[in-house]
Amino acid sequence: MPWIKREKAEKIKEWFPSIKITQYKDNIFLEIEKKEVKNLLKFLKESPDYSFKMFIDFTCVDYPLHNPRFQGVYILYSPEFKERIGVKTWATDDSLPTITDLWKGAKWAEREAYDMFGIKFEGHENLVRMFMWETYPYFPLRKDFPKEGIKDTYLPSLNEPEGSYPSHDYDPYHTAIPTLEDLEITQKARMPEKKAQIVLNWGPLHPGTHGTIWFIFDLEGETVKNCEIILGQLHRGIEKLSEDITYTQVIPYTDRMDYISAICSNVAYVNAVEKLLDIEVPEKAKWIRTMLCELQRINSHLLWLGTFALDLGALTIFLYTFREREKIMDIIEGIAGIRLNSTYMRIGGVRMDLPEGALDVINHFIKDFPSKIKEYEDILTKNRIWLKRNIGLGIIKEEDVYDYGITGVVARGSGVPYDIRMLDPTDAYDKVDFEIPLGTVGDCYDRYLVRMEEMRQSLEIIKQCVKKLQELKDDKYLATDNPYVLPTLEETFNSIEAMVKDFNLRIYGEQAPEGEIYSSGENPRGELGFYIVSKGEGKPYRLRIRSGAFYNLQIFPELIKGRTVADAVVLLGSLDPVVGETDR
């Protein structure tokens, strides 16, 4: 994505003379005092010369030795000029003004910052914890909090007989586990007063919630009057973990975030690191990445289609889509070695070359798959039950998209052409020819149609990639000449220089230059962004993951108001969140 030009950013000084402009690569961040920050954000949003209408992300960075300690970072996007800007401010007295009155999408991001750093937001409507439970006493992402947490509870394994020497090495002391009362307090804090007849809990361990999302409905009969969502039932602390490991070691964690589209997350992450480290990826690796990304996108959309139809009672589609998913998983297993969380990408290329016959298998899949899409569409698209349950439900308007920072298919279903593959083409996306399907109304049915068409477009991209890869047969797939790129296994065992380099990179990590970068990729679930702050060490100082599903899910309580509980299942299915990514 092109960032705002330096000259254009300098012009803001006419209105706000106190801003400082910092630049790393093309990323431009404006730094301003706390008391001016809200005016600046308002100006950027409303001024016709800038019109940064879309909210992308808000996060914090902890600098324990600096006073004030925390820095807030806002990232905005201008749909009109197609450019991004970053705004930074220091949180004096550990508090910041809320911006929920400018962008509603900031509500959860501010809650998350409060949960993780303990920063207060003046004027926030209900500042409670986002991921942890309400009685949790610590703020985990602060630099002085240990990664393992405070192990103060005796919680031994029940499978080990008492008094005997444990069969494996483990610590009987564990971090504190909440009680059911703690969870009740959390629920009460989230929805302080009951307005209608009955409060219904849906989830977190319910097959219809696509993972572990906890919904609270305030019901009047069957109609939802008020709704709240509690996240954090899969909060594993990936952001904290990645502050302690090298850049390469973070790659497996990106798999486990959005486990349905692991390769897309990999690619988004390695692209961000490559931008930070200035690595040029070989041509062949770019095409392999693009091809696998699109295969993974089809795979992800198939899982969505299967579970979405299953939620609506169409069990057949679930069995059909899983038949095709198995084929794609087999292709990915053949290429990467692992079915689901493949960790196939490396900084500077891909892990292995394509095996013999991989392209033939994919070619066969391309020939076979269109008839299968037709099969699904024959069953669903004009099905009366399908139409009745989907049309007119959960209409998202264009303003809502900008207000909540909605990205991905959900934004495109509402007619907003926001696609990172087109706006900021990484890998080989600028060389392939494809179209972006857009919805007109923005309801569940439009999102269904957009995803179906996207699968066809992905197939087109794969076709072009296979054609190109047949020409690039013997090219390099990993830029091992670069000092930051790990050598291949073969090189490591056969040359002493490569072995030394391998050792250095694995032990000390990639010594990235000091700077900060925000880069994103188009995940099937929306924009997956990585904001990396580097302090010149072998590991990231702060790695913020901007999750598409996290922001997309935020509009759910708005949309479900006035509808029935049965619609909640459909609406959730069409928003398609993955909890591994929303909670990280």
Binding site: G149, D171, P178, G211, K240, R256, F322, L340, N494
Partner: protein, 173 residues
């Protein structure tokens, strides 16, 4: 179990044996998905691997099921809820811990992750992998069936076949 007189249709057996036979061939798991492993669990249940042929049918309610497949990372916040679901299941009940995260924390040694599901509920079978393939989960289910059978015969299933790896050499180009 003994068949008397060829094809007369008379079978002599004990009640215990019939119960055990019935139990191990109709394991009904609770359909709870927690993380990545849940996707592989869905694949095990879906068209290709098709657990229905072994009498494994996923149930929505813990009251109707007798196996809990813990598929995915259990974080501290969800641990009391999972314990609640385990307590709601009627006896006899078994637990399969699927994947590295639920068996021992896996790749997440952090402040928010439960380091092993066996700290809150007893586990019968651990399935390794991150995530385990559907074949691995089927192996775990078969292992559980063997365990139920051994228990009925008054034995404890002790030996789990472990294949010793062959000596490995670096890959050469």
């Amino acid at each position: 179990m003994a068949i008397i007189g060829g094809n007369n249709g008379i079978i002599l057996t004990t009640v215990e044996e019939v119960l055990s036979w019935g139990r191990r061939n109709s394991l009904w798991p609770v359909s709870i998905g927690l993380a990545c492993c849940a996707i592989e669990m869905m694949h095990t249940a879906a068209s290709r691997f098709d657990t229905d042929r072994m009498g494994i049918i996923f149930r929505g309610s813990p009251r109707q099921s007798d196996v809990l497949i813990v598929a995915g990372t259990v974080v501290n916040k969800v641990a009391p809820m999972l314990k609640l679901i385990y307590d709601q299941m009627p006896d006899p009940k078994w637990v399969i811990s699927m994947g590295g995260c639920s068996s021992g924390g896996g790749p997440f040694p952090t402040y928010s992750t439960l380091q092993g599901i066996d700290r809150i509920i007893p586990v019968d079978v651990y399935v390794p992998g991150c995530p385990p393939t559907p074949q691995a989960l089927l192996w775990g289910i078969h292992q559980l069936q063997k365990k139920i059978k051994a228990k009925q015969e008054g034995k404890e299933l002790k030996e789990i076949p472990v294949r010793t790896p062959k000596a490995s050499f670096p890959v050469k180009g």
